[in-house]
């Protein structure tokens, strides 16, 4: 196999972000939530390599802890959305009929509702927390997955290899699992990685609106939100989390493309 640039680059970027997150769980340069009002809004210099924020907290330490929170939230949310969406899509597309109509009516109702609004409503009810965000965003993104899966399944189930599987005497469940589901993987890898990016952004948006991971725990989203009033005076406050978000998105997208190519036997 030839060396894949997108695999190497995407892998390195994500490994760097994940490494940062892992390090944060055992060591950070400073306590990420320790307030020091005498050092507030310090420009990046030794020992505060990325400066301090409006409460004098070390930006680098907060960024590291934020990486951990952000990656966990994004990863688990994508898993939740995928699990839900794939199940709904496979069942609806394969069995058609009433199953399809019922599931898709529900799905379309959710899709018709802006995802972020849905998450907002849910979080208002259950209160902002890390796992609350995972649940809310997972539910908000699942319908998109279900749509994509159902579309693939609808075209796959007309293919003759699916009929051949029936003619062999395989059960519907086996056919669905062995022949239909694996062939939905290509569009899903791309969707999953894009979604990883959307979730990081949505989490930032929710934090911005005050419904994200509650302060003082740092996330890239609430750091970005808090940095907004200081955009002109303390630029480093927005640049640091912004660059981290951008690098994670770039990493996941590159890795997603590479994964799709690797998982497709035709390439």
């Amino acid at each position: 196999m030839t060396l894949r640039l997108n695999l190497v680059l995407g892998g390195l970027l994500l490994a760097a972000v994940a490494g940062t997150a892992a390090t944060a769980s055992v060591w950070t340069p400073f306590n990420p939530v320790a307030v020091n009002l005498r050092r507030r809004l310090a420009a990046p210099t030794d020992p505060y390599w990325l400066g301090t924020d409006e409460f004098g907290r070390d930006v680098l330490s907060r960024l590291m802890v934020g990486a951990s929170t952000g990656l966990t939230v994004a990863l688990v949310t994508v898993l939740v959305a995928m699990a839900l969406g794939i199940t709904i899509g496979l069942l609806a597309g394969f069995f058609r009929g009433w199953t399809d109509r019922a599931l898709m009516a529900l799905n379309d109702a959710l899709l018709a509702f802006p995802g972020i609004l849905f998450a907002l409503g849910l979080l208002t009810v259950i209160g902002p927390s890390k796992w609350g965000i995972v649940l809310a965003l997972g539910l908000a993104y699942a319908p998109a997955v279900a749509r994509v899966v159902r579309g693939s399944v609808l075209s796959l189930r007309e293919r003759e290899f699916v009929e051949a599987s029936r003619a062999l005497g395989n059960s519907e469940a086996y056919t669905l699992w062995r022949h239909v589901a694996p062939n939905c993987v290509s569009p899903l890898t791309v969707l999953a990685t894009s979604m990883f990016g959307w979730v990081i952004l949505s989490e930032s948006a929710l934090s911005f609106l005050g419904l994200g991971v509650p302060p003082p725990a740092p996330t890239w989203g609430n750091m970005l939100a808090a940095a907004r009033p200081y955009l002109e005076t303390a630029t480093w406050l927005s640049i640091a989390p912004g660059v981290m978000i951008a690098l994670s998105l770039l990493g996941t997208n590159l890795l997603g493309d590479a994964l799709r190519d690797i998982l497709d036997p035709r390439t």
Binding site: R159, E160, L168, N170, P182, R266
Partner: protein
């Protein structure tokens, strides 16, 4: 000698870095001549024709040689006004060559508006006259209709009509009937040749089917690997081919096999009794469309070890009947009996003995294999359901089966790495690995090149002799059927219209539809005699 209409000399078409699709092809065509360009997939016949009309697919380009039309060299600048009134083209796939979003009338009018001074009502009148000429029943309604309202054969007539409206001096027809059944194929080609003779147009007919060459062409060029390897008057070329490759192509034309060995009467293995299949009509806004009666009460029995051909045109219900007998589509009336047992309503695990004993080979080897599985996995999968089979025994049987279809080395590959013929071998291996008593083959060779068709048919026949399974061979092509069948059953509009031993049906057909099918099938014996 008359000045040639089209003169191609030393034409080269290629792609970077070193692909030569057409490698130094020269030929010329006289006005009004019908020239066949014969060859198999990848021979460069389509690339040659597309180079003439300047419609090469992206990536391919003319890299050398000259093309002259009516004495003047063809360049991109001189070509454009010639497309339509000078050179017209009919494409292979009638399902995609008309724009589904525009009514027929609008599409037909485009050429006339661009190339003639006709306007409005005159254009409509010309279109109606031409549609009438190609046998469209109601031309006025047709102009307002959309392509999806017509069958493949009708669309190809409409395509032909809109091209011939401009009275081209050269018509390029690229496998114009490969997607159609034999009967429709003969109708469309008869029409095409009749129309071009009327208008004095020359035809460049691209085909892989030598039977059509003998019937319609004056002259033929045989192409292989981008070169012309043989050229001559069509019939002489088929009767006495000089090149071994041409001989192989001629030999691949289906011939009638040896007469069937009479077998003692036995209990039928699989039997349909008054079997009917309806498809619910299309759902509309407030109601359903009319239900389609695909199969209307058919009795058909297949005995052990026997080879039965089920023949009919598109829409005759033959495929639906086959699938209903295999319990792949639900029957709406009648019964299916397997070894004397009614299995019409049997479901789930109780159906397993039937599934183990009956298998199917599909038409399209590109769609019938799971693209994510390796060949050995595909052939091994059916054994999963055979009770009491160990892993070692499964592997042994998979290997033996792959060996039997000539693919011993291919177990680790994926379907996309195989050619169409090889894929069909995999499909056959998958169907046979459980040693079924009955195999249904639904047009198993119609998607393949002629020489590959021959190989697959021979393989099927040899395997059937060795293993003794019964075979229901579904096809629109009586010629291919003659090679393999003991008994022939002819279906039309959901009913069986004729049934008998192959020789009886071929030599003394009783039903008019059977006679039409036989006349339409390109058979070598009749053509070069």
């Amino acid at each position: 000698m008359i000045a040639p209409l089209l003169a191609v000399s030393d034409l080269r078409v290629g792609a970077k870095p070193d692909i030569r699709a057409v490698d130094g092809v020269s030929f010329s065509m006289a006005p009004g001549e019908i020239l066949a360009l014969v060859g198999e997939s990848g021979s460069g016949k389509t690339a040659t024709a597309r180079a003439v009309i300047g419609l090469l697919p992206p990536g391919l380009a003319v890299t050398g040689g000259r093309i002259a039309f009516a004495g003047a060299p063809l360049t991109p600048a001189t070509l454009r006004p010639l497309r339509g009134p000078g050179i017209g083209m009919v494409f292979q796939e009638p399902m995609t060559s008309l724009n589904p979003a525009l009514p027929i009338g609008v599409q037909m009018a485009e050429g006339l508006a661009l190339h003639t001074r006709l306007r409005g009502a005159e254009i409509a009148a010309a279109c109606r006259a031409m549609l009438d000429r190609v046998g469209i029943a109601d031309p006025t309604a047709c102009l307002r209709a959309f392509p999806h309202e017509f069958s493949g054969g009708m669309r190809q007539r409409i395509m032909l009509a809109s091209v011939m409206l401009l009275r081209p001096r050269l018509l390029i027809a690229d496998e114009p009937t490969t997607a159609l059944d034999t009967l429709t194929q003969a109708e469309v080609l008869d029409l095409m040749v009749g129309l071009t003779r009327e208008q004095g147009s020359a035809v460049l007919l691209i085909t892989h089917n030598l039977g059509l060459v003998a019937r319609y062409a004056d002259r033929a060029l045989v192409m292989r690997r981008g070169r012309v390897i043989e050229e001559g008057a069509a019939r002489a070329l088929l009767a006495a081919p000089r090149e071994p490759y041409t001989r192989a192509l001629v030999d691949a034309l289906p011939r009638r096999g040896p007469p069937a060995i009479p077998r003692p009467p036995s209990e039928p293995l699989l039997r349909a009794e008054a079997l009917a299949v309806d498809f619910a009509g299309r759902r509309r806004f407030f109601a359903r469309g009319r239900a389609v009666q695909a199969v209307r009460g058919v009795d058909l029995a297949v005995h052990a070890g026997e080879s039965v051909a089920l023949v009919g045109g598109s829409g005759s219900g033959k495929t639906t009947l086959g699938r209903a007998m295999l319990r792949l589509v639900p029957a709406s009336g009648g019964r299916v009996l397997f070894r004397g047992q009614d299995i019409t309503a049997v479901r789930g695990a109780a159906l397993l003995p039937f599934r183990l004993a009956c298998q199917i080979v599909f038409q399209d080897p590109y769609s019938s294999l799971d693209p994510r599985m390796r060949i050995a996995e595909i052939v091994d999968e059916p054994l999963r359901l055979v009770p009491g089979l160990g892993a070692a025994e499964r592997a042994r049987r998979t290997d033996a089966m792959l060996d039997a279809v000539g693919l011993a080395e291919f177990g680790r590959r994926h379907p996309h790495e195989l050619s169409g013929g090889q894929r069909q071998r995999v499909a056959i291996a998958r169907a046979l690995v459980r040693e079924p008593a009955f195999v249904m083959a639904d047009e198993p060779v119609s998607a393949l090149d002629m020489t590959i068709q021959k190989q697959i048919l021979t393989l099927l026949r040899d395997l059937q002799r060795a293993r003794g399974f019964a075979c229901l061979f579904i096809s629109h092509d009586l010629a291919a059927v003659g090679e393999i069948a003991d008994r022939v059953v002819v279906m039309q509009e959901g009913r069986i219209v004729e049934e008998g031993s192959r020789d009886a049906v071929f030599d003394a057909p009783r039903h008019a539809y059977t006679r039409a099918l036989l006349d339409a099938a390109p058979r070598l014996e009749a053509l070069v005699a």
